[in-house]
């Protein structure tokens, strides 16, 4: 729904509302383009950079030989966006290539650039692991570029909690060592978090903010009273909780999310069954719509979007494959398909259908961002979507030669429409450093320093 003019007017006249954020999202109260208003006030015209990590499970994506070979490859749906992409071949998830855990678990720590701790979580083959051993790069970037936005990061999942609980294969993001950040897998809960306040009048926004501050201030005092009386381990647990409370308290004062222009309340439609595999695509579309709108409203600048848990063992009943006996829904367990040898034509034929479908989802998200005008370009030009997976392929479970894709202009951080190919042991941590730098966050190393040699050579 579009928001009333009155609401926009009140929002824009609120003292705490920063104009530069309005610029990226549309109209000013006078009806002039916001940019014009901003120019009069001599505000610099800036558009924030954003980063989205787009994870799909079980590897198995094959990048074409060159930027001219998208047609016929898994990347065919991305043909319209080819010129805004960088394909990267030959990086190795070296920091994740050893235990604890099995490869599907190990690779899920890739955004931390560190290995997993020991623990009691059971992987696909029974291996045990704990959580990852450090902060993930989305958090590191969000802490810097997310200042002033409501959500330092948004961590979103599409049916990504499928083993009955949150575990190492169902999360990508970590606040720190042993501090996993669970994904929001419900589009309805995500909608409430993001947009329930959008459109409220300023008086009620202020009242609710003050009420919440008052509650959280009491809650913090309770944490302070209790913590000294607990054991060291319990103290740590409550301190983590207190950090979380502090973060939501800070969110209250971050007024981003000003409706107008491209920022409006999306429609999430009638509730879907969130666990039915048949709804996987529809849920993904909803989550991408919400993510795109959260970016357009500048509610956040950093997103992780996790499609399924790693080892994804679910079918794709909404996709069809013809094994010679006619088109049929793909009822197979995807993880099992990936285990088959390369010679198994139908297993890999089905996986190709699945991969192409994932690439069409990526194209959908790029299209959504490209539809938001920012200055002379679009939001896609100011964003990088990083495609990644936890292993290279299901029948090797290798972490070596793991493909990556950088989609979008990244605010001009690097040239696009090219392919980088690395030989030898090049740790993917180097890419993480470059992503930080590309988003304007200074860094020379990230994750396990044993597996990082600086920014990725040749990207910039």
């Amino acid at each position: 729904m579009k928001l009333s003019r009155r609401v926009i007017l009140r929002g824009a006249s609120g003292a705490a509302l920063a104009l530069p954020m309005l610029e990226s999202v549309g109209c000013a109260p006078s009806g002039e383009p916001v940019r014009a208003v901003a120019a009069k006030k001599e505000q610099p015209l800036t558009f924030p950079k954003r980063i989205v990590f787009f994870y799909t499970p079980n590897g198995n994506l094959v990048l074409p030989p060159s930027m001219n070979d998208f047609a016929g490859s898994h990347l065919e749906p991305l043909v319209p966006f080819r010129e805004k992409m960088v394909l990267i071949k030959g990086l190795d998830l070296l920091a994740n290539n050893f235990g604890p855990g099995e490869p599907h678990q190990q690779g899920m720590a890739m955004l931390t650039g560190r290995h997993l701790n020991s623990g009691s979580q059971i992987g696909g083959d029974g291996s045990l692991s704990g959580w990852a051993a450090g902060q993930s790069v989305d958090q590191a970037i969000g802490t810097e570029i997310g200042k002033g936005t409501r959500f330092k990061t948004l961590n979103v999942g599409v049916q990504s909690t499928q083993y009955g609980g949150t575990e190492v294969r169902t999360v990508l993001s970590y606040a720190g060592n042993d501090q996993p950040i669970a994904n929001e897998t419900s589009p309805y809960a995500l909608y409430n978090q993001l947009f329930s306040q959008l459109g409220a009048d300023l008086t009620s926004i202020n009242r609710d903010r003050n009420r919440r501050h008052s509650v959280l201030s009491f809650v913090k005092s309770r944490f302070s009273a209790l913590t000294p009386r607990l054991s060291a381990a319990d103290r740590q647990k409550l301190e983590q909780h207190l950090d979380a409370v502090n973060e939501i308290d800070t969110r209250l004062d971050n007024p981003s999310g000003i409706p107008g222009g491209f920022c409006s309340q999306p429609n999430v439609g009638a509730p879907l069954n969130l666990t039915d595999p048949a709804n996987y695509g529809a849920i993904g579309t909803l989550q991408m719509d919400l993510v795109s709108m959260a970016l357009a409203c500048d509610l956040t600048r950093v997103v992780t979007l996790q499609w399924s848990a790693s080892t994804n063992n679910r079918p794709y009943p909404f996709l069809k494959y013809d094994d010679g006996s006619g088109l049929k829904p793909i009822a197979d367990d995807e993880h099992i398909l990936g285990h088959q040898p390369d010679t198994d034509v139908h297993a890999w034929g089905k996986l190709a259908v699945i991969r192409r479908w994932y690439m069409s989802q990526l194209a959908y998200l790029m299209g959504k961002l490209a539809a938001v005008k920012e200055g002379g370009g679009t939001m896609l030009d100011n964003t990088v979507i990083v495609w990644c997976s936890e292993i290279t392929a299901g029948n090797t479970h290798s972490h070596l030669d793991a493909p990556f894709m950088l989609c979008g202009g990244a605010g001009g951080a690097w040239a696009t429409n090219r392919m980088l190919q690395f030989v030898g042991d090049v740790p993917h941590n180097n890419l993480l450093v470059s992503l930080m730098n590309g988003m304007g966050v200074p860094a020379t190393t990230f994750g396990d320093p044993e597996h990082c040699t600086g920014p990725l050579a040749g990207l910039v």
Binding site: E102, G126, L128, T166, S214, F218, L226, L230, Q340, D344
Partner: protein, 625 residues
């Protein structure tokens, strides 16, 4: 000094949960024609993993598992209970049990000084949160539904060490507390212990009464004067700021203040965690909370709070009297159901799919029916019938309705859609292990899985730890070809040296299930051949051959180790943590009590309220007293 709870939660001495995920991720089924031997497909147990380009590092996953536990406080007697025995298979077989009975007094782990073990602070799980609000605010809207699944450890979702709070969860606590507060403040008659009319007594007097009534119940203890004052401060702020009702209309200032008090209380660590800070021993209120969350998964009721206020939840006998009263409440039934659900994971039946070509009778209605059967059966045995562990494994009845009985093809049929206790032919079925829920979850989509069924017995029932297959192994489950039996298809497990070590521990415990197909239906033949349902149990305290699930159940009921394992699973669930060496006495107390009661499950729950681990707490390391 006790080990830190963190270390305990992450210790390698894990129980029985390989099963869960391994069955969630069924083994790959071979798509290319398998090599054959004498007309039968051969299991490709070990083939080198393909490598690309460079050598892939293979991590030695169980290397660390065998490190001896050498903490100075691990005594020999304690080690009896928690030590692990490594077999030829690279797993861990649970240690033998010493049961102390009044007649025989072998070495006991108990000493005059209580040995409580660690007691980590516990955050409410989603279920506990919902049930607590049901009892605190008569709110049955399941506000925790949005919180997201708990981290699991040791097979249970309430393990204290695994529960951490992210900003996302904190945000949901905020949203839930606001929604609950709005509903509750609109009808304050739902608040127990509060009856005050602000028009008569004034806002301040009523607010003070509200803070006492609600605060005491939300924090499950008496408030300190400081806490009382602070909550009244929240009230004053809320009163000044005002609030609107669900329809957006302003509410009375008094209500706006009360609403804020509710929000503040529900986001406090005092509500969200079961904090124990009274000192080196547990306060009556803290013990009352331990009791109510153990037996009910919820807050203390009025009677228990009153007893705690009066100082009568202190002696073990007082605790027991309360526990006996509480076991009569229907809320105890929910807890018993919840334990069994998490222990055996049979609710995963909602995630299984069955190949229509192989199981044409399978339908989407069956998972609900089968799950209900198992829940109702457990309730019947524990609360209405024999009440014993033995009966859980051997009862010659189930609780079914007509459609489910018809699906099973059981001659003794039930009437109508209502579930009722129904006798079954013990020559075919008896007890938990023969129920559709467990049989279908522990099977492939197109055939049985002797491996998973055997693994279930090893891990859930004997508390052994089976290792994953070696990393280099590519596992291909043989396709069920015409004329072959599962025993033949899985034969390579016992002939191939690389498979044998572990599979001879598991498969012979799975073959006895072969008279039940992968969708839980009884059969006499497979592919036209009579089924051989003989089995054998090794590396156990009841070694030997047996026949069918009935024979297996007889072995398990005769096995002290299996009973000890059941006790241990309750310990983990009930106390929200893994057992440590220090808990040897508590486990011994439980084993002894369980035996004395004729292995009565309700008595075991009562026993859980009488151990050192439950009645005492260790002094806090590094915390102020």
């Amino acid at each position: 000094m006790p080990a830190s709870p963190d270390a305990i939660g992450r210790s390698r001495e894990k129980g029985s949960r390989f099963l869960r995920n391994v069955t969630t991720l069924p083994l790959p089924e071979l798509k290319t024609p398998p090599p054959t031997q004498g007309g039968l497909p051969v299991l490709q147990c070990v083939t080198p993993r393909p490598r690309i380009g460079r050598e892939i590092k293979v991590f030695e996953h169980f290397g660390a598992r065998h490190e001896p536990r050498s903490a100075p406080w691990v005594g020999l007697r304690a080690a009896l209970f928690i030590g692990i025995v490594v077999t030829g298979c690279d797993g861990a077989i649970d240690a033998p049990v010493t049961v102390v009975t009044p007649d025989s007094q072998p070495l006991s782990a108990c000493t005059a000084k209580p040995q409580p073990g660690p007691s980590p602070i516990r955050r409410l799980t989603r279920q506990e949160y919902d049930r607590t609000l049901r009892d605190l605010a008569a709110d049955t809207t399941h506000p925790a539904a949005e919180f997201g699944a708990e981290e699991e450890a040791l097979g249970f979702s309430n393990n204290a060490a695994a529960l951490v709070t992210s900003p996302g969860l904190a945000q949901k606590y905020l949203a839930a507390s606001e929604a609950v507060a709005k509903r509750l403040s609109a009808d304050l008659t739902r608040v127990k212990g509060y009856a005050c009319d602000p028009a008569v007594k004034g806002d301040d007097a009523c607010a003070s009464q509200f803070v006492d009534a609600f605060g005491t119940r939300a924090f499950r203890r008496a408030l300190t004067p400081d806490e009382h004052r602070a909550l009244l401060g929240v009230f004053a702020t809320g009163r000044t700021l005002g609030a609107v009702d669900a329809a957006g209309q302003p509410v009375l200032p008094f209500i706006a203040g009360i609403e804020l008090v509710i929000e503040a209380a529900l986001q406090s660590p005092d509500f969200l965690y079961r904090t124990e800070v009274a000192g080196s021993s547990l306060s009556d209120f803290e013990l009352a909370s331990r009791l109510s969350y153990l037996l009910w998964g919820s807050m203390p009721d009025e009677a228990l709070l009153a007893a705690a206020t009066a100082g009568h939840v202190h002696q073990s006998a007082e605790v027991k009297t309360q526990a006996e009263r509480m076991m009569l409440d229907p809320k105890a039934r929910e807890t018993v159901a919840e334990f069994h659900r998490q222990w055996l994971d049979f609710d995963r039946i909602h995630n299984v799919g069955k190949a229509a070509a192989v199981y044409p009778q399978w339908s989407q209605a069956l998972p609900d029916l089968m799950e209900h059967e198992t829940n109702a059966f457990i309730e019947q045995v524990v609360f209405e019938g024999e009440g014993t562990w033995d009966a859980l494994l051997t009862a010659p009845y189930s609780v079914v309705n007509a459609p489910l009985a018809a699906y099973y093809g059981d001659p003794a049929s039930s009437q109508g859609t209502a579930f009722q206790k129904t006798a079954i032919d013990p020559a075919r079925r008896s007890g938990l292990l023969t129920q559709g829920s467990l049989l279908t979850v522990n099977a492939h989509s197109n055939q049985t899985s002797p491996v998973h069924r055997g693994k279930l017995i090893r891990e859930a029932f004997l508390c052994d730890v089976m290792p994953p297959p070696p990393k280099e192994v590519v596992i291909n489950v043989p396709e069920p070809t015409p004329g072959s039996s599962a025993r033949e298809r899985f034969a390579q497990h016992s002939s191939n040296a690389a498979c044998k070590g572990c599979h001879t521990l598991m498969d012979p415990l799975g073959f006895p299930f072969e008279k039940f197909d992968g969708a839980g239906v009884y059969r006499e033949t497979e592919n036209g051949k009579p089924i051989d349902d003989s089995g054998e149990i090794t590396a156990s305290d009841v070694p030997g051959a047996f026949r069918g699930v009935g024979g297996l159940a007889a072995k398990l009921t005769a096995s002290p180790r299996a009973r000890h394992c059941y006790v241990k699973q309750w310990f983990r669930f009930g106390y929200g943590r893994g057992e440590t060496a220090i808990d040897a006495c508590s486990l011994e107390q439980l084993d002894t009590q369980f035996e004395k009661s004729g292995r009565n499950v309700k008595q075991l729950l009562l026993g859980l309220t009488q151990t050192d681990a439950f009645l005492y707490r260790s002094p806090i390391d590094g915390g102020a007293p």
